[in-house]
Amino acid sequence: MAEPWEDEPEGPVRKFMYVNRRAPYGTIYALESLEVVLIAAAFEQDVTLVFMDDGVFQIKKGQSTEAIGVKNFSPTYRALEGYDVEKLYVSRESLESRGLTTDDLVVPVQVLDKDQLAALMEEQEVILSF
């Protein structure tokens, strides 16, 4: 048996896309999505994140959750880089219609329009929408 510190043999790597479409609080979707993203990354899968619709608010700077009594988990998106999750995309239409720019976001992202996002989705093996 291998020692615990030796790397395990590598399993299959699949292209997973997580599409985040809802506001960060009020439902559990955003936090749950982030948790499964971290798990997929821990298992060294090929992870892509998309933020669209109200999902763009998940990575907005300056969140304060004290008044609603839940944890502000937005700092955790900044940990994704350490998990080698660097493919973060935002829908241009969603961002602009909410009056936001990439300067308002806690992590570096690439802004894509509808057709580019559709093309990116075509490349994936698994797409999970939250």
């Binding site: 821990a42 298992f43 955790t76």
Partner: protein, 110 residues
């Protein structure tokens, strides 16, 4: 569940992780380690303190692979490897060190 340290009681979950991270004190880490038969050295504390800083910044406990890489970046290659960390924390570096650091069990942790 709870553990007693210097006459003070600290709530833990069923696996011994501290229920309230803000209650953490160095003595709690020492007592948890003692219960596992481990004497905490400066090398252990380096990792425990690193984890507390990581949590403060990112609000999560890192997976073991991420911890190993981040330790290597901060404390040098001779410490940023699994063998070194497993020697310090034989029950699994992320799992055991997070427990002593008062953090929740890492997400997707092995």
């Amino acid at each position: 569940m709870a553990i007693e340290v210097n006459g003070k009681s600290y709530d833990t979950d069923e696996e011994g992780y501290l229920a309230d991270l803000n209650q953490w004190e160095a003595e709690v880490a020492t007592a948890m380690a003692q219960a596992d038969g481990t004497e905490l050295t400066d090398s252990h504390w380096e990792v425990i303190n690193f984890l507390r800083e990581y949590y403060e910044e990112y609000q999560i406990a890192p997976a073991v692979r991420v911890l190993t890489k981040a330790i290597g970046k901060k404390l040098g290659k001779d410490k940023g490897n699994s063998k070194y960390l497993y020697e310090l924390f034989p029950y699994g570096p992320a799992k055991q060190a997070c427990k002593y650091a008062g953090l929740p069990k890492p997400t997707g942790c092995v």
